[in-house]
């Protein structure tokens, strides 16, 4: 009797363990890394949809990093250690060159096979180019982005100010509104000024507007009249009282928070903010927000910074084929539309901008497509973190008053050539 009980016990244990082994053999868990500012809650909904359609695949979302540079610092350590913990990573549009040089991203050409050209041609050209490094596809676009000018429709209407078509108009309009409102908490205009990635655009947007550029390889010269005009714009705004004195402290999401609380007239912000202004529980500005392209100088053309996030498959992932399948799902027109409706993420497919549901949630997307198509890219370099640091820390120093225009530009000139070699 005892022997029978023992044998049957062993058989039961064996059966159970084999059964669980079989079950776990069917279950693949993929881990996707995203930043805190890229709506991880929406990504969770999307990957849950994927899991429903693909039983046996479980997708975990890991959230990290409040800013683009902080995320990359964390990823630097994980990837330099060749850790296989992450399968898919959401990377900023500026990163594919660096990831290709380091060998961190798995080239997708072999997985796309014969469809490669067809797949890549469906995307907006800027993102097709950003993700192909040395002829290899390093990542697929998740959502597009660019910087826009958000403004308070109610305040502009109340004081008879038109949405500005030039920086000079913006300064005049903001001064008029601030003087009339007399609200100490109200600020005219804010852009990123802290030493974060977004501050690179704070320097580049007026630089491009003034006809200058950083230079890609070759001779780098920032001590040009265009660069002085670029930094001069921010000091003009400061002396006009349009930007707050602590601009050097301001990070991207703080601008959104200030605008959402009703304390800002104009904001230089990315596309994601619209959904927060309209949908957040604590928003004070619902239905009072207008979005137009960023202005240029009166005597020049407008310019804006391109953004957007891409999905790369880690070269150290243990489930590369499954990860590529997930990436192709996330980078499809269906999901692009879902993101646009749920998070006001700009689509990477031109046709999605005209979709009725998308336009209902984001009426300004009809104007957004030409902006995204003409938005300009930051320098493409495998040493981009160093390039970005030089530009953003000197811009930050200038905004804080630690360096004059000449010092900031000459310091940039001293360090950029080595970084952009």
């Amino acid at each position: 009797m005892k022997a029978v009980a023992r044998v049957s016990g062993i058989c039961l244990a064996l059966a159970l363990s084999l059964g669980s082994l079989a079950a776990s053999a069917q279950q693949t868990t993929l881990r996707i890394f995203t930043g805190g500012q890229q709506r991880p809650d929406v990504m969770r909904q999307i990957v849950d949809l994927y899991s429903q359609r693909n039983p046996g695949i479980r997708v975990e979302v890991e959230v990290g990093g409040a800013t683009s540079d902080q995320q990359q610092q964390y990823l630097n350590t994980v990837l330099a250690a060749k850790d296989s913990a992450l399968d898919v990573v959401l990377i900023d549009v500026i990163r594919p060159a660096q990831w290709a040089a380091q060998g961190w991203a798995e080239p997708l050409d072999s997985y796309l096979g014969a469809e490669r050209d067809a797949v890549m041609n469906r995307y907006l050209p800027a993102y097709r180019e950003a993700n192909i490094v040395d002829g290899k596809v390093m990542a697929l676009p998740y959502f597009a982005d660019a910087q826009f000018l958000y403004y308070r429709t109610d305040l502009l209407a109340k004081h008879g100010v038109q949405p500005p078509r030039s920086w000079e108009d913006l300064i005049e309009g903001a001064r008029k509104i601030l003087a009339a409102e007399g609200n100490a908490n109200l600020s005219g205009f804010q852009t990123a000024g802290a030493p974060i990635e977004g501050t690179v655009c704070t320097f580049l947007v007026p630089l491009w507007g003034a006809g200058g550029d950083l230079g890609q390889g070759g001779r780098v010269d920032v001590a040009t009249p265009a660069a002085r005009r670029a930094l001069g714009l921010w000091s003009d705004m400061r002396s006009a009282g349009v930007t707050p004195p602590n601009l050097a402290e301001i990070v991207t999401d703080r601008i959104r928070l200030n605008f959402q609380a009703g304390n800002l007239v104009y904001a230089m912000q990315w596309g994601y903010a619209w959904n927060r202004f309209q949908g957040d529980a604590d928003t004070q500005v619902k239905d009072k927000v207008g979005v137009v392209p960023l202005p240029g100088f009166r005597d020049g053309k407008p310019a804006t910074c391109i953004g957007g996030w891409q999905l790369a498959v880690s070269a150290f992932s243990r489930h590369k084929a499954e990860a590529v399948k997930l990436v192709r799902f996330l980078s499809s027109p269906e999901i692009s539309k879902m993101q646009a409706v749920l998070a006001s993420h700009l689509p990477v497919f031109a046709e999605v901008y005209a979709d009725a549901d998308v336009l209902k949630a984001n009426p300004w997307f009809s104007q957004a497509l030409p902006v995204v198509q003409t938005a300009r890219a930051r320098p493409v370099s495998p040493r981009y973190p160093e390039v970005s640091d030089i530009v953003r820390s000197n811009t930050n120093a200038f905004l804080a008053g630690t360096k004059t225009v000449d010092q900031a530009l000459s310091d940039m000139n001293a360090r950029l050539p080595r970084a952009m070699r």
Partner: protein
């Protein structure tokens, strides 16, 4: 001296027992340091292809010595040391004297003294960042209520340095206070009683009884505080990220930026070796002064 077989056996047993610890130490300390020094002579950065690490001699060091950002960071580190070490000592001494008063219930005092030290540095940095925030910070709120103007604590270079120093002193003075409190408690009561019988005032008692008896504890606290001050990283990193510009960037932060952010391991290693030399110089100055003082006694 002839070593007998028994002693020889014991000596070998001694070596054998030390061997695992020595191996661990070698792995954790010696190997990384040697590797660091070797890397500092190579070019290992994001531009070079994976696997390539050409030998470049002293090029990284030459670049460091000509790098204004390196000198700025070193200057900031030295300034932090000069400001925060004495300040932490003074504040810590005051706290220790306060905590040494005869309280009926001792544990709340000890807890209050212990909490800042127990708090992780990054938490302290983030908390103080919120305190000093321009529009919503509590410090500016108090200033406004007292009739002053709001100050741009974290976006103006001098004030940012002051704000980070305040946070560092707050955090480190509790450690100094703990060390000094232990020293204070060891001073026998009779010395104070004898001094007051001789007609000494409170200040004279402090100068002639307390301070001399506290000397060893002060030395210990100073050494620890200085070594940590050389490595200042967490609080300025969490509070200002080195900004505005690079006015609160310390040497440890610059090394972190170069290695973790830029992935320029060659240059970062050179900077780390230079930082080690600076720390070694500073600590040897200390030790020599202390041993001289001890010999003088």
């Amino acid at each position: 001296m002839r070593v007998g077989p028994l002693e020889r056996g014991e000596r070998w047993l001694g070596y054998a027992m030390l061997a695992p610890a020595a191996a661990l130490l070698g792995l954790i300390v010696v190997y990384p340091v040697v590797r660091l020094i070797l890397t500092s002579f190579r070019q290992v950065d994001q531009g070079s292809r994976a696997g390539e690490a050409p030998f470049v001699g002293f090029e990284n060091y030459a670049y460091a010595l000509a790098d204004p950002r390196f000198w700025g960071a070193t200057g900031n580190t030295l300034l932090y040391i000069v400001l925060t070490v004495p300040a932490a000592l003074v504040v810590g001494l005051g706290l220790a004297l306060l905590a040494n008063l005869p309280f009926r219930v001792k544990w709340p005092v000890r807890l209050g003294l212990l909490l800042p030290w127990a708090l992780p540095l990054v938490f302290a940095g983030l908390i103080f960042r919120w305190f000093f925030e321009y529009q919503q910070g509590i410090v500016n709120d108090v200033l406004l209520r007292l009739g002053f103007e709001k100050l741009q604590w974290l976006s103006s270079p001098g004030l940012a340095f002051a704000a980070t120093s305040i946070a560092i002193v707050w955090k480190s003075s509790s450690f100094v206070a703990l060390v000094l409190l232990a020293g204070l408690q060891a001073i026998p009561r009779e010395l104070y009683e004898a001094a007051s019988v001789d007609g000494a005032s409170a200040w004279q008692r402090f100068r002639s009884v307390t301070l001399p008896a506290l000397r060893p504890a002060i030395v210990v606290a100073l050494i620890f505080r200085t070594i940590t001050a050389i490595q200042t990283f967490d609080i300025p990193y969490a509070m200002t990220g080195g900004g505005p510009g690079e006015s609160t960037e310390t040497l440890a932060m610059y090394i972190h930026k170069t290695t973790i952010d830029f992935l320029d391991f060659g240059y970062g290693s050179a900077l780390a070796v230079l930082m080690f030399l600076v720390s070694a110089a500073a600590t040897s100055v200390y030790l020599r002064r202390i041993s001289r003082a001890e010999d003088a006694r």
